[in-house]
Symmetry: C2
Subunit: 214 residues, 2 copies
């Protein structure tokens, strides 16, 4: 392992957290290239030399933050997927939406970075990273849909590839609407509180069930 990173990881937890929070905030607000290590260091009241000691380059800092964030995100998701394996498709979708909404509530800056990465090409190793974290990718949804079809939970005659595309679009957009205005088409999702979000998830899944279920 890199020597600087070892130094960083030997720091007190509180300081490590402060540094990662500052980095997340800076990247979330400015993207990769416009993010300024000078500004981060000033905000943290530490010397920028320290940050370069820890991570070597700005890219190294981003990589570290990214790996750290993936860890925060994959745990709960895997758990949700396992615990609902025997339930029907729509219940599983409900749970995964709820897990996503929870993550966004707890880590709004990380989610903003993800959204920026979608259409901003200047993040390091963007394609690799994105394909690792796209939540509702075909890879994840297709097996769910196939299983639901086998169980007869879906209306016959619908093209499964279309179902996957459709679910991907709607669920991704649902989560985007929680943290970006313009996106909710008047559905009142932007910065809704937890109870409101749970209610909207219910409505959304019911709607899907009406359109896709048998």
């Amino acid at each position: 392992m890199n020597q600087g990173v070892e130094t960083f990881e030997r720091l007190r937890d509180e300081k490590k957290q402060r540094v990662l929070d500052a980095a997340a905030s800076e990247f979330a607000e400015h993207g990769f290239h416009r993010a300024s290590v000078n500004r981060m260091a000033a905000g943290l009241s530490i010397a920028k030399g320290s940050i370069f000691k820890y991570f070597g380059t700005k890219e190294g800092l981003f990589e570290y933050l990214f790996r750290h964030s993936v860890g925060l995100f994959k745990g709960p998701l895997r758990q949700a997927a396992q615990s609902s394996a025997n339930q029907d498709l729509f219940e599983r979708l409900r749970l995964s939406l709820a897990t996503g909404a929870r993550f966004i509530e707890e880590h709004p800056l990380i989610y903003r970075i993800y959204l920026k990465m979608l259409f901003q090409e200047d993040f390091p190793r963007r394609e690799t990273h994105l394909s690792e974290i796209r939540l509702y990718s075909a890879k994840y949804l297709r097996p769910l849909v196939d299983q639901a079809r086998a169980r007869g939970e879906l209306r016959p005659g619908l093209d499964p590839a279309m179902i996957v595309f459709f679910l991907d679009a709607v669920m991704d957009r649902f989560l985007q609407a929680l943290s970006v205005p313009f996106m909710d088409a008047g559905a009142g999702l932007f910065r809704a509180d937890r109870a409101e979000v749970a209610k909207k998830i219910g409505q959304c899944v019911d709607f899907l069930r009406q359109g896709l279920g048998r």
Copy 2:
């Protein structure tokens, strides 16, 4: 009107077009702040002083390009909306998707700028601009849906606000998938040719009709 802009508009059409193309390319690739007027000028083999003579600031250049692009985009859309006013909801959706796909095919750089603006906050007057051009906003879709309901084209019992949210999500995503990988959930939309796109639009609208129509 600004004196510099008058100078620009007096130039030969071919040169104006070259300048606007170069600006679109630069903003599409780098967003607003990372876009470099130096690079533009070098690519065009003109002095950067000229660009500042025309538009005053980088922001002025962006504004000009934006206004120009809105013009390219609103004409065909209005025409499509008028010509299909008497058709049913799904046919109208099909036509507006086709119009969007056509615009993206003809002006891919402009569309890339729009996508960057969605999640990148550093564009000048971003909120104003976005609310002007969001294609499938509630403002546009809601009347279509209400009209379709009055005509009995929709399955009873579906919440119209949800219908609007869903149509917005699916259609926006459909267009995004044409110009960004990762987005098509395996549906093969990325950089599909014109015939392929027309076919996919048909499938998508048929699918919507099955789920939402009566």
